[in-house]
Symmetry: C2
Subunit: 189 residues, 2 copies
């Protein structure tokens, strides 16, 4: 809970009584490696803060699993495209390691927005940040080579190269694992 409060206070001040409200609205949950936070076809009804661990986002594209993103400790996970309109998700979210979460449901998030003085402001700033990172990903697909995309991944998530199976990273970059090996060798030289 301490890490979550710090993450929120990065955006807005919280009084002691507001910290208690936050603690009341979020619930702790553990996921084992491989367990799903969200499965394709279901409605995403929660947002979670990762206290420790690592999750990946993936989709099925013509029968093939494509990894489209990662979140690690200190970040929020959700599929807003499913969460906001309460529509079936086209994305799955799965723990890659044993992961500890602080979870909040849709109605309780609306309560947080109204019961905490800076709640709406927190919502706006947090979603601005998520939005900027999504749009950077979109730009990258338009303009970057696989090598550039791999280098950006390493720069954005320096610790994750060791923590993730190489085929997840290759899928995220948009190439075959063999091609990723070649890129890594070329960069290492």
């Amino acid at each position: 809970m301490e890490a979550l409060l710090r993450a929120i206070k990065h955006f807005i001040p919280l009084s002691v009584s507001e910290e208690a409200i936050v603690a009341e609205l979020f619930n702790s949950r553990r996921m084992a490696a491989g367990e799903h936070f969200l499965e394709e076809g279901k409605i995403c009804r929660h947002v979670a803060f990762i206290s420790s661990g690592l999750a990946r986002y993936y989709m099925n594209v013509e029968g093939q699993e494509k990894t489209i993103g990662f979140n690690q400790e200190g970040e929020f996970i959700s599929n807003f495209q499913s969460f906001v309109p309460a529509a079936p998700s086209n994305v799955s979210i799965q723990a890659v390691e044993d992961t500890e979460l602080e979870v909040i449901g849709y109605d309780d998030l609306q309560n947080l927005y109204t019961q905490v003085r800076g709640g709406e402001r927190f919502g706006r700033l947090a979603i601005e940040q998520v939005y900027l990172s999504s749009i950077e990903q979109l730009r990258s697909f338009y303009t970057d080579s696989p090598t550039a995309r791999y280098q950006q991944f390493v720069a954005a998530y320096p610790g994750l190269v060791q923590r993730l199976p190489q085929y997840y990273i290759a899928s995220y970059v948009g190439i075959k694992p063999q091609s990723l090996s070649r890129i890594r060798k070329r960069i290492a030289r």
Copy 2:
């Protein structure tokens, strides 16, 4: 100004005095077709509401112009990736038709967030909407064929097929204009 107030009131209520604040913070501006709202390399310092007209977003990719998005009347334009951190933009925004805007600068938008009761809430809900459309675009690049991307474009912007040069649409879909002609003929059959 009426259309802008309606757009804001789609998200939050506005009292008469708050309507006056909004009218004070936004300034009307006309752009001729071809004129730029934002040029690559400059910092995006404004958000604008399109009262009438049409704008496109484009980037230079290896010397080639790529159209990456459109906004029409009733929508907001900005490059948040430049606007929020005040960083040089990698995107240009250009009027495709003569366009009328209501424009607000960064500081005045912060004033709107604080001076209007539901200001932060408006900011959160508006950016949620923009974010959902960006992430849908991202998903589409991962998973959709050019034909599917064209059909989605037509579904999302039914009026724009007539208003846009075909090479902008082809660039947006990610194919050559000749391929787009073939796709259109196939769909028409």
